[in-house]
Structure formats: structure tokens, C-alpha cells
Assembly symmetry: C2
Homo-oligomer: 347 residues x 2
């Protein structure tokens, strides 16, 4: 049994300045100091000034971990993307980051490398950080992950693709995008059109675009051959894709690539091979990366509003977070950001 006369246990803690010390210096209680920093309007001007002065003088840095535990909410937003190698996700993250940081939220970034099991683990970790909301790329998750997210009571935003999701959704219709480009190619008079994708089992949105592409070609009574590369999209892979398309199939007149990285890689490779685009072979992409507009001929592609998608997603989440404070309930929502066919001279 411990006795009240026992010496106190050895302290741990990080020997940092605490709010209590700030409060002492300012001659107020800890809670008033807390209020001065978090809800300044609830504190008398003179008092607040004294407290802020003490903060400055002591070099106080708030312990956000303690604050989050006490209030059971952090100002974290979990963001989960399948890859950092792809400029597309970087731009979405950028849009998210700008919008969230302006409101004092910090992004917790996770990278799944296109692995749903990894996604589940990231979600678990992130929930453990009491995130205020979670943004994830895509509508596909494994069962364990779905289970966690369904019973979680904070906003979940699924971006990149459009559809029935868990809660909030901002994206575009990839099948439609595939149809759009295929229709364009047909209208231009191409008849022997190959689709080239990379790791489409993982990048399933590319597979959705192919599905749209195929439906249009088949409706026109044409075949829709597919070449699938065993590595993720890159300029190199695009070069390989073009070579294979031309080698494995006869009289190909157009290649529809799953993304701009592949398409530009192919276009530059065509230059090296001395093929003229689009006379010898037409090339189309998807995403609308700036690079595609700098090559000659300019790439025909589908422009997706990536940064806008990020910004919009963040805004929707922020609005939802406000509503939660008001104890209002909101239904799930979907928002189609659409896309634009960007015509270059490559088709």
C-alpha cells in the first residue's frame, strides 16, 4: 500500500513548457489560458493579452497530443492515395492540402501502393489518431476496411471516381471518359484502335475507361483489342506499349493509352522511331497533364480537373464538419466534376 508520505514518483514527461506554467505566469487558471488560445473571443481582451505575452515569453508550444486526447478530436485529415509516383494524385493532394490547411487542419498522408490490405492498415492507424475526416482515392475497399469505415462516425470522402460510396463522393465517370475518347477516335475515322493499359487489375479506373472504350467500339461493330503492360504507367512503359501495339497487331491506326504518361512516352518514342503522329499512328491519353501540351504534336487527351477535385472534396468535407458541430445530419452525396476532351494534333 502506498502512503501519503511516500516520496512522489519520478516524473516523466518531456520537460516542455506547459499550459499550466503559462497560466501561472499570466496569473490565471489553465482553462482560461486554454480558452485564450482556442476560443479567444471568450476571454477578456486584457486577460488574453497577458496570456499571449506569457506564451511568447516562455516559448510555449501547445501539446496537440494532449489537446486531442482531452477533446477526442484532432485536427487531422487522413488522406489515402494509391501512389505518389503519379502526378495525378499529387495534384489532388495539393488541392486538398491547400484547402484544409487554410482551415487549420493537417493532412496525414498515406500511400497504399495500390494494395487494399495496406489501405486497411492505414485506415486503422489513422482512425487511431482521431482524425476529423478521411479522404481516400477510389470506391473499392476490402471488407475489413469497409467495416471500419461504416461504423466510424466521421466524414468519409471518396475521390477520383464517381459512384455510390460510403458517404461523400467527388469524382468523374471513368467509363464515360473512355466512351468519349473512343467516340472521338471513331469520328476521326480510325478503325483499328488498340487500348494500352498498365496493371489494370490495380489501376481499376483504367479498366473502367477501357470498358467504356470497348462498348463504343463494339457498338460500331469493331474489335477492341487490349494490350496490358505489367508495370505501372511511365514514359518507358508507354514506349514499350507502342512497340507492342504495332508489333502484335496488324494495321493499327490509333492507340488509346490509359494515361498521359504512357501516351507521351509513346509519342516521344514514335519520334525516335521516325513514325509520324498521327499519320502513321494516332495517339490519345487521359488526364491532361501539362506535358502533353508541350510535345509536338500536342496530345489529344481527356482533361480531368484534378486540383479542383481536391479542393472541392476538401470543401465538402469542411462543410460536413461544420454541420456536425451543429448536430445536423447530412445524407451521402455525389458530385460529378466532369472532364473535357482536349484536342491536340496527335489524333
Amino acid at each position: 500500500m502506498s502512503n501519503r508520505n511516500d516520496p512522489p514518483r519520478q516524473r516523466r514527461g518531456s520537460e516542455q513548457i506547459t499550459l499550466k506554467q503559462v497560466a501561472e505566469v499570466a496569473g490565471v487558471s489553465a482553462i482560461t489560458a486554454s480558452r485564450a488560445l482556442n476560443t479567444p473571443e471568450r476571454v477578456n481582451d486584457a486577460t488574453r493579452e497577458r496570456i499571449l505575452e506569457a506564451v511568447e515569453r516562455l516559448g510555449y508550444v501547445p501539446n496537440l497530443v494532449a489537446g486531442s486526447l482531452a477533446s477526442s478530436r484532432s485536427r487531422f485529415i487522413a488522406v489515402i492515395v494509391p501512389s505518389l509516383a503519379n502526378a495525378v494524385f499529387i495534384e489532388v493532394i495539393h488541392g486538398l492540402q491547400e484547402t484544409f490547411e487554410a482551415q487549420g487542419y493537417q493532412i496525414l498522408l498515406g500511400n497504399t501502393d495500390y494494395d487494399l490490405q495496406r489501405e486497411y492498415q492505414l485506415v486503422r492507424t489513422f482512425l487511431g489518431w482521431s482524425c476529423s475526416a478521411l479522404v481516400t482515392a477510389g470506391l473499392r475497399h476490402n471488407e475489413a476496411c469497409l467495416g471500419l469505415l461504416r461504423q466510424w462516425d466521421k466524414p468519409v470522402m471518396e475521390v477520383m471516381e464517381l459512384g455510390e460510396g460510403l458517404d461523400l463522393n467527388v469524382g468523374l465517370d471513368h467509363q464515360d471518359a473512355g466512351r468519349c475518347m473512343a467516340t472521338h477516335l471513331l469520328k476521326r475515322g480510325y478503325r483499328s484502335i488498340v487500348y494500352v493499359g498498365a496493371c489494370m487489375d490495380r489501376d481499376y479506373r483504367a479498366a473502367m475507361r477501357f470498358a467504356g472504350h470497348r462498348s463504343v467500339l463494339e457498338a460500331a461493330g469493331l474489335q477492341a483489342p487490349l494490350i496490358e503492360l505489367q508495370r505501372l504507367g511511365s514514359l518507358d512503359a508507354g514506349a514499350e506499349g507502342l512497340d507492342r501495339a504495332l508489333a502484335e497487331l496488324s494495321k493499327v491506326d490509333a492507340v488509346h493509352f490509359a494515361n498521359d504518361d504512357l501516351a507521351v512516352g509513346a509519342l516521344l518514342h514514335a519520334q525516335r522511331r521516325g513514325l509520324s503522329v498521327p499519320e502513321d499512328v494516332a495517339i490519345a491519353g487521359f488526364n491532361g497533364l501539362p506535358l502533353g501540351q508541350h510535345v509536338t504534336p500536342r496530345l489529344t487527351t481527356i482533361l480531368s480537373p484534378r486540383e479542383t477535385m481536391g479542393r472541392l472534396a476538401a470543401e465538402q468535407v469542411l462543410r460536413r464538419l461544420d454541420r456536425i458541430l451543429d448536430h445536423a445530419h447530412e445524407p451521402p452525396s455525389q458530385h460529378n466534376v466532369g472532364f473535357t476532351l482536349s484536342l491536340g494534333e496527335s489524333t
Copy 2:
């Protein structure tokens, strides 16, 4: 005064499963459950199994916020970069992320947009999260930031450039890189060489490369004209840079760009303008982005080991963290990752 017979206050908390509940189900105390999850080797096999079963059954997700507060350390690594738009930083981040995540650390990513005041604020926030270490791009910080970091007792890693830093340092010598390219251009016989940079007051590493470049040209008795663009590096900016270099200066025979984005932008623009590279004008870059090897002619550039730099930086930080556990003290260190001159046909 409150009385011991008063009803208990209303609970807050997030109604999540807690470790205590897991422990109850498993018939042990909370600390044993904690040990089963964090230091499994200190718990009897049978007991541990019972606990893990309870974790599974209840769908327990550890509250990392509480854990961090109690132990006054999180498994966060703060990573601060000046931009996400630049592929260079993305690759460094990738290297860091892979290495840290493998050891169970989570990256907290901050973006300063090349603003040192913003860096200070991010550092403040991140210290508030009890990060285990901090990785930041560059050796320049403002006074407030330096003050915070100097009195902080955890590893600080400065990457990208080489030099006397706060603690750990992994990078390359940018002046040397500038000298290397200038020497190469001279050796090739170019005599009227322009340097084109973008926002070099912010991207001061580009300014360091220019300093190296200039020293070589001046030592050879040549002028070292500089054109500075008012926007950050991009393909567009590179095109503008080339136009201005050719318009504002007479008989330019080579342009040394501050980075590959600019250089490739210029190279593609030269194609559009019908200029032949390197006959009409030679073009050189810095970074060694894959794109530079796909254009025709291939770009002469300086290859910096970006992902390696990230991985190496992470490894050094991890080693230091291990040593701290052993209460060993380590001196500051510097590590030069070097660079390679990558010869294309553009010079």
C-alpha cells in the same frame, strides 16, 4: 462544493472500444493488454493469445493519441518540403516514406511553398505532435525556427544540400554541381552561356548552382549572364526562358537551366520554333528527371540521387533514434550523396 453523492458527470469520449474493455474480456489488467500489443515478448504466450483474440472480437483500434500522450512520444516523423509541384521533392518523400513506414513510423507532411515563416509554423505544429524526428529540405531557416529546433532534443535531418547544419545532414554540393555543368559546357566549346533560373530568391539552391556556374565562366574570362524568371519552374517557364535568352542576348550558344523542368520545356519549345539543339543552341538542365531521357535529343543534365537521398536520410534518422534509446550521444554528421553528369545530345 461537490459532494460524493452527486451523480457522476456526463461522460464524453468517443464511445470507442478501449484497451480496458479488451483487458476485461481477456481477464487481465489493462497494462498487460498494453504489453501484449506493444512488447509481446514480455507477455506469456497463452495470455497474449487471449488478448489478441479479444482485440479481434471487439474490433479494438488502439487510440494512438492516448498512447503518445502517456509515453510522450509519437511514431510521427515530420517532413517539411518547399513544394509538392516539383517531382524532385516527391521522390525524396517517397524514399523517406518507404523507409520510415517499414519501421512503423508515420510521416507528417508539410509544404512551405518556399516560405520560411510558413516553415516555422509547421515546425511549431509538428513539435506539438511530439514527433520522433524532423526532416526538412534545406539548411536555411528563420531565427524563430532555428531557436525551436536548437532546443528540441530529437533528431533533426536537413536534406537536399550539403553543409554545416543543425544536426544530421544528407545532400549534395549545389555549387559543385553548377561548376560541373559549366565546365562541361566550356569543354564542349560553348562560349556564350546563359544561366536561366526561376525565383532564385526562394529556390536558393538554384542560386548556389548559378554561383558555381559563374565562378567557372569568370575563371575562364567569360561573362556569366543570368536570366531570372518570375515564376517557379515549369515547362512553360522553360519555353519563356529560352525565348528571352535568345532575344535579350546576342549569339547565345548554350543555355544552362536551373532544373530539368525548365530545360525540357525549352527543348520542346525549340522543336516547335524549328531550332535545332544543340547546333543552334545547346541546352542543359539539373536533376536527371526521366523525362529528359525521352526527348530527342536527350537532355544533358546532372543526375541527383533523389530517392536514395530520402532513403539514406531516413536510415540515418532511424539509426540515431536507436542510439537515443541506448542513451548514447551522437555528434552531428554530414553525408554527401554526390551527383553524376548525365550526357545527352542536347549539348
